[in-house]
């Protein structure tokens, strides 16, 4: 079992508050990513769960039992750090066995557990290697195996892939995904890479400026961001501001029908993802503009289009557009996402 609840957690270093009022519920067997830019306090949150950092306030509950006050070595949570931090004086096998030895388990059991975990993490055959004889990816897998083998109730992964190159990162991400699906260990996965978080998690918790901004499924965060900053974090840069009247959003650049939305007279901010804007030569269109800049990115080309006072970013498969060119754009109404208005800015 391993239902983890963080309740209004406050983390401080000296007088500086790093994390404020952080609440998150992780169901048993769930993999939740804590996503956020560098320095927002992601590592600190994991350390608080592991017990390596004393929270200034709030509660941490595991299956209903409070963890704060329990020494880290008594908590059923294991943390895997950004660096592999393998013990250089032990070989691969001994490193993996470390947690089991600390529990004084029988040798035969330790041998069996190690063998199965080494198979799971694709380390079979490397047991006798010294640490400095391993590649970076292998080291990180040993570090993962060392944590998994003790079968923790909660696994805390602190950017375990960030020191690997792109290819290896992908492989390790898939491996972690697979292992988590198989073992169903409740997992908190910290990362600053949105693609990683979206690909691996059941749910994502986005942390900005020390506060939890949105929790939800990867699709929710990506397609229905709670506010413009969340949208921006996932690469959404197109914002339309205006007033909602008679089934449409009236902005300075144009009128966009929003079927299924009601609330006449409200000032609204809406967003549309760059890849959802369609540049077309024929047929109905919503906006016209002039190409300001283009950037070829391989599978798509990023195009900056000035339309009135609004600069829109469009991701299009068409790589032939050039600056100065006039283009027509279609904004599919179903792709326009309206941010829920903040309570204090609502107008009657």
């Amino acid at each position: 079992m391993g239902e983890l609840i963080l309740d209004r957690l406050i983390l401080r270093f000296g007088r500086r508050t790093v994390v404020e009022d952080f609440s998150l519920k992780v169901a048993d067997g769930e993999l939740v990513s804590i996503l956020g830019p560098s320095g927002v306090g992601k590592t600190s949150i994991l350390k608080a769960v592991a017990g390596l950092l004393q929270p200034a306030g709030g509660k941490i509950l595991l299956d209903g039992r409070p963890l704060i006050g329990t020494a880290p070595e008594k908590r059923p949570a294991v943390m895997v750090f950004q660096k592999p931090l393998l013990f250089p004086f032990l070989n691969v096998e001994q490193n993996i066995a470390f947690g089991l030895r600390m529990r004084r388990l029988a040798d035969s059991k330790i041998r069996r557990d190690i063998a199965s975990i080494m198979e799971l993490t694709r380390l079979t055959g490397l047991g006798r290697r010294r640490i400095h004889e391993l590649s970076g990816g292998q080291q990180q897998r040993v570090s993962l195996a060392r944590a998994l083998v003790v079968k923790p109730a909660v696994l805390l992964l602190d950017e375990p892939l960030s020191n690997l190159d792109a290819d290896l990162r992908q492989q390790m991400r898939d491996l972690i995904h697979k292992i988590q699906a198989r073992t169903r260990i409740t997992t908190l996965f910290v990362t600053h890479d949105q693609a990683e978080a979206l690909a691996i998690s059941h749910r994502v918790a986005l942390l900005l400026e020390g506060r939890l901004r949105q929790v939800g499924s990867p699709r929710e965060l990506f397609h229905r961001p709670a506010d413009p900053e969340v949208a921006r974090f996932f690469g959404g840069t197109n914002f339309l501001e205006g007033r909602f009247e008679k089934g449409a959003l009236h902005t300075q650049v144009g009128v966009f029908p929003l079927p299924g939305f009601n609330g006449n007279g409200h000032r609204l901010t809406a967003t549309i993802r760059p890849e959802d804007i369609v540049i077309r030569e024929r047929g109905p269109y919503d906006l016209e503009g002039r190409v300001v800049r283009t950037r070829f990115e391989g599978m798509a080309t990023r195009v900056w289009v000035q339309s009135g006072n609004t600069l829109l970013v469009v991701l299009t498969p068409d790589s032939r557009l050039t600056p100065g060119q006039r283009v027509r754009m279609h904004l599919p109404p179903e792709k326009i996402h309206v941010f829920p208005p903040p309570p204090d800015e609502r107008r009657a």
């Binding site: 560098s38 590592t43 592991a50 017990g51 390596l52 020494a71 880290p72 070595e73 008594k74 908590r75 949570a77 294991v78 943390m79 750090f81 950004q82 660096k83 931090l85 013990f87 250089p88 004086f89 032990l90 470390f98 947690g99 030895r101 600390m102 529990r103 010294r130 640490i131 400095h132 060392r146 944590a147 003790v150 805390l156």
Partner: protein, 300 residues
């Protein structure tokens, strides 16, 4: 990327294990090699009995023999080993504690802690004499406080059979050196590995035994061997604070060498050479340890 946020003044230390230890050992080496023998090259013939000025020109091992079979040699050797061993062990144990206490301390504290490194042994020995002699400052303080009635009540800490004064001098002087040597090992992922151990359910004793000791033992051993070598060959502290019998090997060597009887000189040099061999052995062993460590990537 996470920025490094711990204060790490140790970056300024020479990165290799060789430079600093050699610099610190220089006085001992000079005393042993130059003062007692005018260098091995000059000393060796004399220790073999070649000293034409004294009318001796027959080369033999008899001076070494005479030294090695002298019962005083073993009491001297024992005393020297006792002083070097005990002071090294005490300093090592205290350095472990000091390193753990200092690993997260601010820079200025570390700076203060390094001050003893710059004070010569001789100065500390003289200070110890002033402090701990039966008529010294501590004894007088105790007398003024009424804890003892006179100098005679004060325990013998200088020129005493247990070499308390000598041990105190060495311990005080060597702790900062050893602490700095192991601090660098501790800062180099050591603390993080302790955290890893904690989340893997290692209790305090287990963390000490299965993480801290294995991480620190190589540098502690390397530092310990250097300190041991130094104290084994150093002359000034036991000369000032030691008792008259038995003498430590370096003092004995010096006594023989400066004896009015020129015939004693080859024996003095022979002792010096025995000391030099011991010191050199320790340094080689220390370098081995440090190098092994570097290969494993834990230290320096």
């Amino acid at each position: 990327m996470t920025e490094e946020r711990r204060p790490i003044p140790l970056k300024r230390l020479p990165r290799t294990g060789a430079v600093r230890p050699l610099a610190l050992l220089a006085p001992a080496l000079i005393v042993v090699l130059v003062l007692f023998g005018g260098g091995l090259i000059l000393g060796l013939p004399q220790s073999l009995g070649y000293l034409p000025a004294a009318g001796m020109s027959k080369i033999s091992l008899k001076h070494f023999q005479r030294v090695l079979f002298d019962p005083d040699f073993f009491s001297s050797l024992g005393l020297t080993l006792y002083v070097a061993g005990v002071s090294t062990l005490i300093a090592a144990a205290l350095s472990l504690l000091a390193a753990m206490a200092l690993v997260e301390s601010p820079r200025w504290l570390l700076f203060i802690f390094q001050i003893p490194l710059t004070v010569p042994h001789l100065v500390i020995a003289i200070a110890m004499a002033f402090l701990l002699a039966p008529s010294g400052m501590v004894a007088r303080l105790f007398q003024n406080l009424g804890w003892i009635s006179g100098p005679g009540d004060f325990p013998l800490l200088i020129n005493d059979p247990f070499c308390i004064g000598i041990l105190l001098t060495y311990v005080w002087k060597e702790i900062p050196f050893m602490t700095l040597m192991i601090l660098s090992a501790l800062k180099n992922s050591g603390m993080e590995m302790l955290d890893v151990g904690r989340t893997l359910n290692a209790g305090p004793w287990q963390r000490f035994r299965y993480i801290l000791l294995p991480i620190l033992l190589p540098s502690l051993g390397a530092a310990g061997l250097i300190v041991f070598a130094y104290t084994f060959g150093a002359f000034e502290v036991p000369y000032l604070l030691g008792q008259t019998y038995p003498m430590s090997l370096p003092v004995w060597a010096y006594r023989n060498y400066s004896d009015v009887d020129l015939a004693a000189r080859p024996e003095g040099i022979a002792i010096g050479i025995v000391i030099a061999v011991g010191v050199t052995g320790c340094i080689i062993a220390s370098q081995r340890l440090a190098r092994g460590q570097k290969r494993r990537g834990t230290v320096f």
